[in-house]
């Protein structure tokens, strides 16, 4: 390929968005590992990664608060790109084609497709749920303010939300492995025009300046 034909790369995430994302990712991994350690005895050995059971118990909630704060910033930055548009309903109807790698049968996606938007709102719900139930469970500081039934309910819901969150992130990570050229958006900040054309055509069109669509 000669130099003239080399595609100009398209910026998808700024440096600070990428740093923000990876802080969330690292804290999430820490939380998932420490949380699983306290969830099921089969994972208790994971407490060794955090310096033992007591340190796992001490660190988990603080890391959780850090993740929530970083996530809140991330959400504010990406919120307007994730609002549902009319074409998203159509996209979801064809999600089977997406899974069969027949993306050509799907309507054009904006900056985010309907699946990504669903994940976005699911994560907002789960993060909020985990924060609130986690505070109720935080014995050192907050549990004393709540009735015992509240602590029991929070413990159950915390496990449920965490389970759903881990499943959601498994989907998120897999999507990055599956759709080649996606990960570099979050590591280098850029994607190739062909990637944008193939997966987020409406976004590319918008970047080019045609068909203004502020909902991305």
């Amino acid at each position: 390929m000669n130099k003239e034909r080399e595609p100009r790369l398209i910026q998808r995430y700024t440096t600070s968005q990428r740093i923000n994302h990876w802080i969330i990712a690292i804290t999430f991994v820490m939380l998932a590992l420490s949380g699983l350690a306290l969830f099921h005895p089969a994972f208790y050995w994971l407490t060794n990664l955090f310096g033992g059971g007591v340190w796992t118990r001490i660190l988990h909630p603080f890391v959780g608060v850090l993740m929530f704060v970083c996530f809140a910033i991330f959400i504010v930055r990406l919120f307007r790109h994730n609002l549902f548009a009319r074409r998203d309903a159509e996209w979801l109807k064809h999600i089977g084609d997406m899974l069969e790698n027949r993306e050509e049968n799907l309507p054009e996606a904006g900056r985010y497709n309907a699946g990504q938007k669903l994940l976005f709102f699911a994560l907002i719900f789960l993060m909020l749920g985990l924060l609130l139930t986690g505070l109720v469970m935080w014995r050192s500081y907050f549990s004393g303010f709540f009735p015992i039934w509240g602590i029991r309910l929070a413990s159950l819901l915390h496990a449920l939300f965490a389970f759903l969150m881990i499943c959601a992130i498994i989907v998120h990570i897999y999507a990055g492995i599956w759709v080649k050229g996606s990960v570099r958006a979050m590591t280098r900040g850029t994607v190739t025009p062909g990637w944008a054309w193939k997966h987020h055509r409406a976004w590319l069109r918008q970047l080019r300046g045609g068909t203004p669509d502020k909902r991305g």
């Binding site: 969830f39 796992t56 118990r57 899974l99 389970f163 050229g181 025009p193 590319l204």
Partner: protein
Amino acid sequence: MSLQSLDIKRRSATTTPPPSVRGEVIGGGVAKLIDTTKCIGCKACQVACMEWNDLRDEIGSNVGVYDNPADLTDQSWTVMRFSEYENPAGDLEWLIRKDGCMHCEDPGCLKACPSPGAIVQYNNGIVDFHEEHCIGCGYCITGCPFDVPRISKKDSKAYKCTLCSDRVAVGQEPACVKTCPTGAIVFGTKEDMKKHADDRIVDLKSRGFDNAGLYDPAGVGGTHVMYVLHHADKPGLYNDLPKEPRISPMVGLWKGITKPLGTAAMALAVLTGFFHYIRSGPIETDEEDERKAREMIDE
């Protein structure tokens, strides 16, 4: 507390059987029977507990009732609860209940505990905390149907009555039993204690306490600390002793089916992704896509 590794029936956060070579204990294990009808509220049991276990709670202040200290703490593993009850005849009854761990046959604390071996149940039924394995999460408090465990502010470990497991292990009765001046607290095998309670209940009924009975709640599989109550039909009179205690369904769900089911579902999610990749492969961007993208940009 103790080192009877061959006498463990249940172990927290452990999915394989504990050492069980010795088999069942005769007599249904041990039990402490607290006869509230004989209790005079002298608190000698509290003192004996402090002395044997070498605990010194903070000197508190009078809060207007006889309860002293006002609640169980990491330093006070047993507390006399005083209730003033005006019976239907218009007479005052002073109901005194020695509160503390009930040593449930199906212990909610042990079920909830995430740390392997931090809570054990011995073959004799005693539920004991091994504080060196305690991580201080407080799940035992969440799991307990009787609101007994307390986390120390000093070391963030959970503490409660051990039923003097160290004394029992060498053939002695618990310190509170040893000291009780009226014989309101007795100790033996669970079967013997039930028989003893039966005699007491017959006596109480003959004295007009028609509802006298034994408190050995079936919802937690029975307890290894039992009460003789004058009003067994209304345990709530005794400082809110629960009528039908059981491990909360929320705790049961959280610590029951959720754990294997959730773990399996997460593993399945990963496997689904893996086999999707094996079946359908990745979505890649090729030269054709780049060309079409350029066309769109150059339009």
